[in-house]
Amino acid sequence: MPSEKPSKTRKEFIVGAAAAVAAAAAAWAKISPGKKTASSPAKSAPERRGHRWGMVIDLDRCTGCQACGVACSVECNMMLGTPEEASLGRVIRWLKILPETTIRDGRVRQSLKPMLCQQCDDPPCVHVCPVSATFLSPEGIVGQVYARCIGCRYCVNACPYTCKFFNWDEPQWPQDVRMPFNPDVSVRYKGIVEKCLFCHHRLQRAKDKAREENRELREGDYTVACQTVCPTQAIAFGDLNDPKSDVAKLAASPRARRLLEELGAEPKVIYLQEVS
């Protein structure tokens, strides 16, 4: 019958077209270097060359003593803050303990998390900055250019972890607090955004030292302040791209997870916690 023929060809055409589209899509997926989808922290490591600095925090070891927060404040010349500023949430601490209260099976559970910039591989704050004042360094540290920031606070809003901070007032330091400022870390001023930089001044020092000694950077050369003071050694820090490093091994643990993983920001701070 004549009516059958065109319908058959139409069907063939559709099938053929669908196959062609599928083939093209497959080819595109293969050649395009596009973003990887849902990857575990350990798996995504080998895809990048060079260093990829990351942190692992073992919540089963953390006692919530806040030594990390104190070390961070001293190391990075944090503002002191007044009680009035504290009541408005304006005191800046790059590392803070986040208390989380959950109720499970009628029991109240309190958990404590040391929270710092999660150093995302796909940082939402970097995308939204209108003046490129915040950026992702080739070694995976999210940086902030204080001298360029216009203080629009868009990045602060875009950060799902609320780990960027705005200087609402000119920070005040009494003279005796000014004396022991860390000379390696710039002092911030009013109207700009700041954040944890993974003690990148220590990375500069470590690199200088390695260059002097004419060698490559080794595991343990570059440490961060919060890690070094942790009394329970709950914080590990190092190169996630180095499969032999502590952080890379810990990141592969079945206890490893990242906060708000579903948002796809690919953070490089990994939390270890037994799931009960």
């Binding site: 949430g89 003046v131 360029r148 216009i150 203080g151 609402w168 007032d169 948002l263």
Partner: protein, 441 residues
Amino acid sequence: MSQSIAADLTAVGHSQAIDMERVEEAVLKPLVNPAGWRFAAFAWLLAAVFATGLAAWAWQIHKCLGVTGLGVPIFWGTYIINFVWFIGISHAGTLISAILRITDAAWRRPFTRIAETITIASLPFAVTCVIVDLGRPDRLLNVLLYPHMTSPLLWDVCCITAYFITSCLYFYIALIPDFATCRDRLAGKVSGWKEKLYRWGAFGWKGTEAEVRVHRGFMTALSIVLLALVVSVHTNVGFVFGMTSKPGWHTAVIGPYFVIGAAFQGLGALSFFIVLVRRAFHLEWIIPEEGLQQLRKFFLALTCFWGYFTGAELLTTFYGQHTAEMAVFNAKWFGQYSVSFWAMIAGCFFIPFYLLVTGRKNIERNLLWAGFIGNIGMWLERYTIIVPSGSRPFLPWGIGHYALSMVEWAIFAAWVAGFFLVFFLFARVLPMLTIWEIEEA
């Protein structure tokens, strides 16, 4: 076209066809007559409020944003709300004049100039709101020196700049023939600087056929460009919020929702000012009631659109039951922000809806109030979009509180006063009705 206007006039009790001599005289009267002490007092009051706000801004620049009520985790407040709100008001002009000019709706003719004046008067205040919100306004130029094109804020800069320039051009080009009318009719009757303004503004306009042809062609082309810009501007303002993953902001509907909200708000502002100008300058016979009835229907349609978008957005959020989204949702419906939320629903939908549906008889009063309340409702809408989302971050950092500080109130009041002041001063210098368009009818 002249038939419909004549019909309008018949409807409001005028039997003879429109007389251009009389129209020109009536429209140009406010430009000639001295303002009177009441206007002067009002203008000085507005100027004083504006000056106070400028002083508050100077104080804020000196002390930085600590003088606001903002903190963690509510990082954006009144200034950003006002920015979105003023952009919404500015949509009056372009919406009415561009859409209605393209579709050649006859009833628009007496409205277009007022609409465009609202745009020109509100846009500078919208833009400066963002500058007031900056922690380092002295580094504003960095936006041009180091532009980062993936930032929705920069898309805004581009769109709003284009919008402002095109709006100014549109406003001015529509004014050229009227400047010429002023030049010809008001010579010797007004003060020297006004005469100079009209002479230069008219740009040697003689009203020849060729001039008129070019003028009309340009107006149509600009209308089309402006229409695209109007949509892009408020979509992008919505994108500033929608592109982040923040609960309550991250929704695909936010772009179109902002456009509809702005159109609603702009029409509200227009209704308000039309009634004001009509009353103050006794122009009832040129702005016929029939036109106000059309405006009422258009406004009513947009009120319904606003309700539809709001309903769609709320139902989607509620049905999804996403934990972080629901925290914001509950804060709006039942919690901390329920007063502003329900006031917004009333102010943006129920009250204007009621006033407009029942407004056939008391058209002037109802339009004025619907426009006024609709605009307050839209301020609350921007508030309930921006602040509750800030107060409920993903992680349990604690619930944020935000109350406007005195500095914020002062700047808010100043910007509103400044907008009114610019509008009223324009009304004393420029003809508030588009004479050539009425003539054309």
